[in-house]
Amino acid sequence: MHSDSNHEARAATLLYLLRERAAQLAGKTAYTFLEDGEEIGESITYAQFADRVLALAVSLRGQLVAGDRVLLLYPACIDYMVAFFACSCAGIVAVPVFPPRGGKRNLRLEAIARDCKPRAALLSSRKLLHVDAAMAASPELAQLQVICTDSVPAAAAGWVGPDINSDTLAFLQYTSGSTGLPKGVMVSHGNVLHNEHMIGACFESDSDTTTVTWLPIYHDMGLIGNMLQSFWLGGHCVFMAPVAFLQRPIRWLRAITRFGARVSGGPNFSYDLCVDRIAAVDRQQLDLSSWEVAFNGAEPIRHATLERFAATFAPHGFSKRAFHPCYGMAESTLIASGGDAKEQPTYKWVDKTQLTQRRIVETQPGIGQALVSSGRTAPGQLMRIVDPATQLPCQPGTVGEIWLAGPHIARGYWERPQINTEIFNAHVIGSNEGPFLRTGDLGFLDREHLYIAGRSKDVIIVRGANHYPQDIEASVEVADPALNPAGVAAFGVIDDGIEQVIVVAEVGRSALRRLDSKLLVSRIRQQVLEQRDVVVDVVVLIRPGTLPKSSSGKVQRGRCRTLYLADQLDRVSKDDQTAPAAVADA
């Protein structure tokens, strides 16, 4: 199949890809959706898929103008993929979003709509979500044209399609930035196709590859790494909703067994979930010998997780060689580095304290911190480790910021010209290489293997999802009048790869006397969970006026974190959800 790879790299657009696959693989199943992660709910062949896409594309062109943004409001289903392809093939900019749930306002959806000013929202009445309340809740959403994509007349034969090319914007990936100010990565047809080629090369996949996925299909790993990758390969992709996996993790591994999947994966926590929640008796029915690529990305990869999973499932056909640690981001479309095919993951043991100072000091295996390599740089990409302050290249083995260049790097965020110049147009001093993307992640290269060593950007990652301190702080500030709204700090603390969310909040002076700290802590947790969908692990209430701030009054998160770790905050109470016994004391 690799003789096709040059040809595929030249395929300029998703429309071209769609037509090629429909012609070459008409009767082959492209997608199978598993209802509740178990029963086959719907499946579709390449030819049927192309027909539905083209029919919808014609219809959309009749109602919308090239370059219009369109929100996709579907749960996990084949209709969603049809809509995604139809938009991008019609020169319309798809904006996949996490579907709203419950009858509540969805702050993120509103912020995305404010940012990209969509013309319409697509949905299916067969797969209706609780969209009405969420849409009615804000002016930006209420004025959208809602287009139901259930029944579309068959496409007129001989539709030529709009004038799109590899530089045409295909979709916006909203994974960056806080909920208040989300940033939409502009991904072109060329970006996607180049990155699909890179993923296929990293995984050594071909059209015989079957993929199984439970990942959210709205962005990066799920959409690009699984749904589009499989289509690009000409393979078969079996998918289920993420909650079906969370309800019963065995569904993931059972699907791999049933369909003989070669490629499947998820963030680090999902491997731990399988070990913790699948009963030994249920493991007996599994056969994971077809699983050659178990990718692991989106959050720090833990040595202990890989070892535990491999040990637990080796008797059921799983090989440690299947592990493919990966690294990437929306700004690079998806993949930036991937583990060696057919090799076991590479580890490095380093001194923990030196690592926090950005120095790599190797220790004996088993002592200190185990780092898992995220693999080699993806083919066709330029990767440099650069000092973020001086913009000079770092020596090999030294920690610096990871910079990336290549045809898969997006050209920038939607309507953010200043940030784009800063982030997407960086140059290494002393060379004429560039422009580079500044990833904001810290790492080092050791014998061509990339190791992630931290982040220079202020993001907290929980279960593979990004959370921004300013979002959490905004929720805490309005959680209860007993709090001082100008006295909140949120940050993450990583211990052996597991990230905890910490909130430190000043109690207001007048509330101090009659304080019910337990109730206050509960209100804080509830507010953050409902608005940001993330659990706060530790809540520390502190005395008024004691949160570290700069001379201009800005909260100093870093300093606060240092004080927290040294247990030097002026505490009123500390509530640690993760401690063996609930603690609430002064």
Binding site: G102, V243, L246, S522, Q526, A579, A582
Partner: protein
Amino acid sequence: MDGPFDGAAAGSALQPIASQAAIERWLVTQVALAANEDPDEIDITLPFSAYALDSAAAAELTAGLEDWLGLSLPPTLIWDYPSIKQLARYLKQSEEG
């Protein structure tokens, strides 16, 4: 495998019908475990989010309920019945269903 939501192994036709009070007690125990709280402190009218049950923990809870009650439940059930009291009432009605 011993997560906080281990229910009894799924039985068959011999499954006893649980009373609403028993369902509430079961939920109180599980939520207390997940939230690291004393069961006596759990308020059954408060939303699950007050006890920091996120979507992963909520999905796991529904799996335990399925096993115990012999019902088939969507993993998103808690979004529609967001307190112990409301959920127990719904489940009792489903049992009688």
